[in-house]
């Protein structure tokens, strides 16, 4: 498994810490934050591949709002929703907003890893396509490299 960067967002610190630890143990670059706002702040500064986002977070931004904001800042990041909530509607809403998939808490860690790998794969494919497109563009119009440098 290729290593990739993961941002875990959950207000349940016990859960958050453990997940981050377990992910790190598997040589994944995982970071944890406890609120939607913190997640947005982090994402403004750094690039991530996958965000594990708890939908139900009391106070502040809720999951769906956070998701929308994440997608605005980093459209290419794949978001995996986590929910302990009964209503699947929220999850469906999340999927509509561009989340990759959802998982019902408590989940099996293996399932989580699989889903994340899939999300990363999708993201990687996506990135590759964009890169390829850029390379194509550069081959056709080499001078644009300089245009970009000017920016």
């Amino acid at each position: 498994m290729n290593t990739f960067r993961i941002l875990v967002v959950d207000d349940e610190t016990d859960f958050l810490e453990t997940i981050v630890n377990r992910l790190n143990k598997r040589k994944l670059d995982a970071t944890g934050v406890t609120s939607g706002e913190a997640a947005i702040d982090v994402l403004k500064e750094e690039l991530y591949d996958v965000v594990l986002l708890d939908i139900k977070m009391p106070g502040g931004m809720d999951g769906i709002e956070t998701l929308r904001e994440i997608k605005r800042i980093q459209p290419l990041v794949e978001v995996l929703l986590l929910t302990g909530h009964a209503s699947v509607e929220t999850s469906i809403e999340g999927m509509k907003q561009g989340a990759f998939d959802y998982l019902l808490k408590p989940m099996k860690f293996e399932d989580l890893l699989t889903k994340m790998a899939q999300a990363f794969e999708k993201k990687a494919t996506h990135d590759k396509k964009i890169r390829d497109a850029k390379i194509q563009e550069l081959i056709r119009y080499p001078s644009r490299v300089f245009d970009q440098e000017k920016k």
Partner: protein, 555 residues
């Protein structure tokens, strides 16, 4: 309790309707009956009164006529003329000749000493003295006199009519005899019908004419004449036979005599009795018909009511079951959510511990295996709890069934295939009795599969080992009927009602969540179907699923 309730209701209905319908009928009948009787009585009384009056008038006229004739003779003829027997005979003959049927038996002239001076008639009464006779004085005193019927010298019942004549200082009497047979004949014409009698009695109740029935002329009639008032009176007496006899009396001859008409009620007026009987019969028939109708109507009504009640109860219990499920669904969702988070933490912590155990320093530790086993157990039980809470969430979730074209037999086949291994291990044979060519319905295949899986799995668990499960399909009205029968120990009646309740389970701790049947119930109910149980101890259990025939849209 319910049963007696309906019985009471039925009785109450019958009693009230009976009272309301038959009561007035009987009242009306009674009123008509007595009205009839009264009318009848009045009619008879009227008839008898009229008859008595006319007949008494006739007798009065008869007697007055004869008295008038005698008086006329006395006025017009001199004593000397009449005292001559030859003249008297001639006169007697002339009277009888001219006025036939005047009924004079004889004619005689009597002086004031009572000696019969002259006599004309069939008997030899010349020279008899009447001075001692009670009527003699009466004639001299009153001028004229009509006697009661008496035997007289001749020992034949007769009536005497006598008129006093006065010539100068000499008083004398002209006397005629009337055979009472004439009176008999006169009165007999009023003897109507088979029981009607007509006769004359004097003031002492002595027969003056021969009655038709009991009694003879001059005998005592037992009629209490003082009971009869002025004019014409009708009284009622009761015969020994029970019949009512009407007796009408009309006074005549200055209240000396009374003409009596007697008649037994009912006999001469058979139509009256018939009318009464017919009326009673009509009312009785009416009552019987009404009774039948009321009983029939009440029975039908109560039966319908009972049925409606039954249906309502069933509906109610279904509603209660649905309410229960809905309320529990909400609660389950809340609980599941609250539990899921800590459960997730526990799970992850255990996972983390497991991860750490993989490090070398722990591998060689003394209790490594114990730790690993404990962590494994924790994870296993978190997994179990996870299944339960996810089940609860699934139960609470209002998922609209996805509509596929479903072939029930096929779905059952798939389900049985899934369980066949499990069944074989336990020596359980699954027998299929399918009805071929069941219509394809629009339903949710996976949800149906979940239900069948649950039911057959329960059947296997119920049998334990060595038994048969019979799965059959068929049509029942507008439903497809799937029945799953096992020959297990059956479900005690006491808990049959609870088996669809959430979290109710008969399985050992940890083997079942008690959600399977309630989820099945919810699924089938949402599809518009029904699921029911028929179980008898030692005879096994049958679950019947009815699915509505929702035909897929033509594509």
């Amino acid at each position: 309790m319910k049963l007696t309730h309906y019985k009471n209701l039925r009785l109450k209905l019958i009693a009230i309707t009976l009272a309301v319908s038959i009561g007035p009928l009987i009242l009306l009948g009674t009123a008509i009956y007595y009205q009839f009787g009264k009318l009848y009585q009045e009619r008879i009384e009227d008839q008898i009164r009229t008859l008595a009056r006319t007949q008494s008038n006739a007798v009065d006229v008869f007697l007055r006529e004869r008295t008038t004739i005698l008086a006329m003779i006395v006025e017009t003829q001199s004593f000397e003329t009449l005292n001559n027997p030859e003249n008297l005979s001639k006169l007697f003959w002339q009277i009888n000749q001219r006025a036939e049927g005047l009924g004079l038996v004889d004619l005689g002239v009597i002086d004031k000493e009572g000696n019969q001076l002259a006599y004309a008639g069939p008997y030899n009464l010349q020279g008899l003295n009447y001075y001692q006779q009670p009527w003699f004085d009466e004639v001299l005193r009153r001028g004229q006199f009509i006697s009661n019927v008496f035997m007289g010298f001749r020992q034949v019942p007769h009536v005497i009519i006598a008129v006093k004549g006065v010539t100068g200082n000499n008083s004398w009497i002209l006397r005629a005899t009337i055979d009472s047979e004439i009176l008999n004949r006169l009165v007999r014409s009023a003897q109507v019908g088979t029981s009607g009698d007509a006769f004359i009695v004097n003031r002492d109740g002595v027969f003056q004419t021969s009655p038709r029935f009991k009694g003879v002329i001059l005998g005592q009639s037992k009629i209490e004449t003082q009971r009869f008032g002025e004019g014409t009176t009708v009284i009622e007496t009761r015969e020994d036979s029970g019949d009512i006899r009407y007796i009408g009396g009309a006074w005549l001859k200055d209240r000396e005599w009374m003409l009596v008409i007697s008649q037994i009620a009912g006999q001469e007026h058979g139509w009256m009795g018939n009318a009464r009987n017919t009326e009673i019969m009509i009312i009785a028939t009416g009552c019987v018909v009404i009774l039948f109708a009321i009983v029939l109507i009440s029975n039908t009504l109560v039966r319908h009511l009972e049925q409606a009640d039954c249906e309502m109860n069933e509906l109610n219990s279904q509603l209660i079951q649905q309410d229960k499920l809905a309320a529990l669904g909400k609660m389950a969702a809340g609980i599941a959510h609250e539990i899921n988070n800590p459960l997730a933490v526990i799970g992850e912590k255990a996972g983390w511990m497991e991860d750490l155990l993989a490090e070398e320093e722990f591998q060689n530790s003394e209790n490594y295996k114990e730790f690993a086993a404990s962590i494994g157990k924790i994870e296993e039980h978190v997994d179990r709890a996870r299944k339960i809470t996810h089940n609860m969430l699934g139960f609470a979730r209002r998922m609209e069934p996805r509509l596929d074209d479903v072939e029930i037999n096929h779905v059952l086949d798939q389900t049985i295939e899934m369980l066949s291994n499990h069944a074989r291990i336990n020596d359980i044979e699954i027998v299929k009795h399918y009805t071929d060519r069941l219509p394809i319905i629009a339903s949710d295949q996976s949800q149906l599969q979940q239900v069948f899986l649950n039911l057959i799995n329960n059947a296997i668990d119920a049998i334990g080992s060595d038994g048969t499960i019979d799965v059959s399909t068929g049509m029942e009205k507008e439903y497809i009927r799937i029945s799953i029968h096992d020959n297990g120990p059956g479900i005690p009646e006491a808990i049959q009602k609870k088996i669809f309740d959430p979290f109710f389970t008969t399985k050992h701790n940890g083997k079942g969540t008690g959600l399977g049947l309630s989820i099945s119930y919810t699924i089938i109910e949402k599809m518009g179907g029904q699921i029911s149980i028929d179980s008898h101890e030692d005879q096994g259990t049958t679950f019947v699923v009815l699915l509505p025939l929702v035909l897929p849209e033509k594509k």
